[in-house]
Point group: C2
Chain length 111, copies 2
Amino acid sequence: MDLKADSLTKDSQPSNNTADMLKAIGHPVRWRIIRELAKRPRGCCGDMCDCFTLSQSTVSQHLSVLKSAGLIDVEQIGTKSSFSIRFDALKDLQVEISELLETARCNCDDG
Amino acid sequence: MDLKADSLTKDSQPSNNTADMLKAIGHPVRWRIIRELAKRPRGCCGDMCDCFTLSQSTVSQHLSVLKSAGLIDVEQIGTKSSFSIRFDALKDLQVEISELLETARCNCDDG
DNA sequence: TGACTTTATCGGTATTTACCGATAAAGCGC
DNA sequence: GCGCTTTATCGGTAAATACCGATAAAGTCA
């Protein structure tokens, strides 16, 4: 990321993983994966592969990114990896955005 | 992005800019900038520079990314560029996340 | 006009990301 | 055990990103 180590030190708030989560779903493929997963209780890597023309390894890596960001859970079932949405994370994200919007409303020019 | 041109063609929905917006705020510096801008009616590049130890050019470029994603507006005032939050965009983002969460709730194992 | 302020853009570099094919690992069913 | 399915990981490459300093552009103000 080539981000200077102290470039955020002026931030009074402790670092959180909101930006990480946003970054994770801020890719068209991963955003799509999340929406596909939201449509069903769970889905395996193969299911997600069916949604794209990408290689299996690429899809697997995208799932891994979502996992690392804490947005999905994995459960091993036989040879399959069963992925599912993590509500807490999604909820946190929703709250963050809502709070941001509310803050902006309070401080905008007209009110 | 090195994304195969047709990798999303199976997506029934037309492309939207949600992923672009998420990607834009999915960087710690830009996420911080957005939150800083939300705190005030408007802010110029110099104001944002004060929040970081990054160079002016770098901050300017981050602002440019946010602008391109449609998350902020710019108004020229003298030599200064006055940036402000775009509510519509933020609201769209909030709705998208909320809908995602709702979809997930409806389709989860215990729902 | 000339010095100053403010911001955008350019050129360059280092790092990260996104993708692929190949292969390894691990469970399933015969 | 053996072949099959499924997924993760490795090695490699191309592209995008993040940063910087230098400089240009454009308004302000004396």
